[in-house]
């Protein structure tokens, strides 16, 4: 199968953040970047599907500045076959603008399956995957936690599971399709030394991203208000009655 995996370069969210002087973006100083968490799961799913269903190709696509090529190379070292870098000096916050660029690239490319992570860990938008599906007119299932495909002679169907709040949904869909992948579906493998060497020879094409219009922008970015300092009520089980009193009389939650 020919599988496309759309990945995104995001800052490591474990780091301390500061707001840039423009008041609209993060101060990039000292930030570390990597493939967005959920996109790592999507890549793993793609690799496993082709290992299971016979020969195929895994193509990673990413929209971004030249620095985006780092994560494309990383995906190649993990096992993807080739990369497509859709160059844009700035990645807009508007997911629909990005979806237009990806759809333009994917439309005539003959992918059997197009995978995304459920959500980018920087924007928290979770929009580019289903938007791209809509623009391409392809079936779409979001936040997939389990996946089975039945493929014969280039046609196929799939069944997927997704978590609703308090319920699990099972769905069936035809290929080609767009899926967004939730974490936990398959533990991502790490790049091997062999993989890193091989990645250097794998092709990465770069061309300008055909971004769509931008209608969603950031006016202001702020650090959240710190929670007021709490207090240690006490040590050990003896502190429980005082905690109960505080929850009743002060916090009024009991």
């Amino acid at each position: 199968m020919k599988i496309g995996v759309c990945i995104r370069r995001v800052p490591d969210t474990e780091m301390r953040f500061a707001i840039a002087p423009d008041g609209q973006s993060l101060d990039q100083t000292g930030l570390k970047f990597d493939i967005s968490d959920f996109d790592g799961y999507a890549l793993e799913v793609a690799l496993r599907l082709n290992e299971k269903h016979g020969p195929g190709e895994v193509v990673v696509l990413s929209v971004g500045a030249d620095s985006t090529q780092e994560i494309i190379r990383k995906a190649l070292s993990i096992g993807a076959d080739r990369g497509i870098h859709l160059a844009a000096p700035q990645v807009p916050f508007d997911g629909l603008s990005i979806a237009h660029a990806l759809a333009a690239e994917l439309r005539e490319a003959g992918f059997d399956l197009i995978l995304f992570g459920r959500m980018a860990t920087d924007t928290g938008n979770a929009t580019v995957g289903p938007m791209t599906a809509e623009l391409l007119g392809l079936p779409c299932v979001t936040a997939v936690t389990a996946l089975e495909l039945a493929v014969t002679d280039g046609t196929g169907t799939g069944t997927a599971t997704r978590e609703l709040e308090g319920a699990t949904e099972s769905l069936s869909f035809p290929l080609p399709a767009v899926l967004t992948i939730d974490e936990g579906i398959a533990r991502p493998r790490l790049p091997s030394l062999k993989g890193i060497m091989a990645a250097k020879k794998k092709p990465v094409e770069s061309r300008p991203a055909a971004l769509g219009p931008v209608r969603l922008t950031i006016d202001r970015l702020e650090l959240p208000a710190e929670r007021a300092a709490g207090r240690i009520v006490g040590e050990g089980a003896e502190a429980v009655p005082e905690l109960i009193r505080l929850l009743r009389e002060e916090a009024k939650v009991l």
Binding site: L26, F93, A126, L223, I244, R248
Partner: protein, 329 residues
């Protein structure tokens, strides 16, 4: 005067709490604009119209219902096509979806179909003459973005729990609507919806959440957390990523960056150190209680009340005291 469309969610034939939240938020925005109309839209199987009427209590002037036997379990393609068709012709200034699994699936499809702006997972929004302004926690809640949405209609998905349902009764007149896509033509079909034990409260809706971490040492010790949740009577049980990764709890119970985001009135963290990954999912709780043996654990920096010590002694005592306190009410 602005009219808004609220996209309400049914589960097993009944509106979910988020349905009342989106109608409440749409009502507030319409009122703030000088008194426009709020239309709620629902899609479901037979009987959907009879349950949808209650959305009027929260401020819906009109309740649009797509009732079809094939839509008992929902269908994103049919729902998004129906919402898109309504928005195309209905003269709405904005549409409010819930940022639930269903709403986050629908809203981007509708935005792409209409070529309009969507802000996801917002905690609040307001209509201005030239734009919709929304607040959205980005970078797993480590930064708050104020977003500007140009164009009409502007779409938002509203974070569950961000707006408390408020009764402001309106007519709630029910009008049946044809599906925007023949359900027989949908390519993706929901073959089953398995609802977990009905008695269990959903993490996103429970007023109290009791969560356990690695400090519990073994899967079977989660009984302590479950007992404490049972003592509250209105609590759901959550867990950290470490715990769900180890299979002590199902992954659906995970609270944090890669799991659920919850904003209960009370959050009790048991044996949880407070990694950023976890804090991202619970820092907006109104009151946080932490029980941990390490007095320097980061969880105590966000907790309103902490007890330092052995959870295996503290939690059973707390369970007993909570049970007593509840019995007195």
């Amino acid at each position: 005067m602005a009219n808004l469309l609220a996209v309400a969610e049914l589960r097993a034939g009944a509106p979910r709490k988020v349905a009342f939240e989106v109608v409440t938020a749409a009502r507030a925005a319409a009122d703030a604009s000088g008194g426009g109309e709020v239309h709620a839209i629902v899609l479901g199987g037979a009987g959907a119209a009879s349950v949808a009427a209650q959305l009027g209590r929260y401020g819906a002037d009109l309740v649009l219902v797509v009732e079809h036997p094939a839509l008992e379990r929902g269908n994103a393609e049919v729902f998004s096509a129906t919402v898109a068709a309504r928005l195309r012709t209905g003269g709405y200034r904005a549409a409010v979806f819930p940022a639930s699994a269903q709403g986050r699936d629908l809203a981007p499809r509708v935005a792409a179909a209409l070529d309009v702006a969507l802000a996801s997972d917002v905690t609040g929004f307001e209509l201005r003459d030239d734009a919709l302004i929304a607040r959205h926690p980005a970078y797993i809640g480590k930064a708050i973005a104020t977003l500007r949405l140009a164009g009409t209609p502007a779409l938002v998905s509203l974070r569950p729990g961000a707006v408390a349902p408020l009764e402001r009764p309106r007519a709630g007149t029910v009008e049946l609507l044809e599906p925007g896509l023949d359900p027989a033509k949908a390519r993706v079909v929901v073959t089953a919806v398995t609802v977990r034990a009905a008695a269990r409260l959903d993490l996103g809706e429970a007023p109290v959440v009791v969560s356990g971490g690695r400090g519990l040492k073994a899967a079977e010790n989660f009984k302590l957390v479950e007992d404490l949740a049972a003592a509250f009577g209105n609590a759901a049980v959550g867990a950290t990523r470490a715990v769900t990764d180890d299979g002590w709890r199902p992954s659906a119970d995970q609270i944090g960056q890669t799991g659920r985001t919850v904003s209960p009135s009370l959050y009790v963290a048991v044996g949880i150190s407070g990694a950023i990954q976890h804090l991202a999912g619970m820092r907006t709780a109104r009151v946080i209680v932490a029980i941990n043996r390490d007095k320097d654990a980061p969880i105590f920096k966000v907790a309103d009340y902490g007890i330092v010590g052995d959870l295996f002694e503290i939690v059973p005592r707390l369970t007993e005291e909570v049970r007593k306190a509840r019995a007195e009410h």
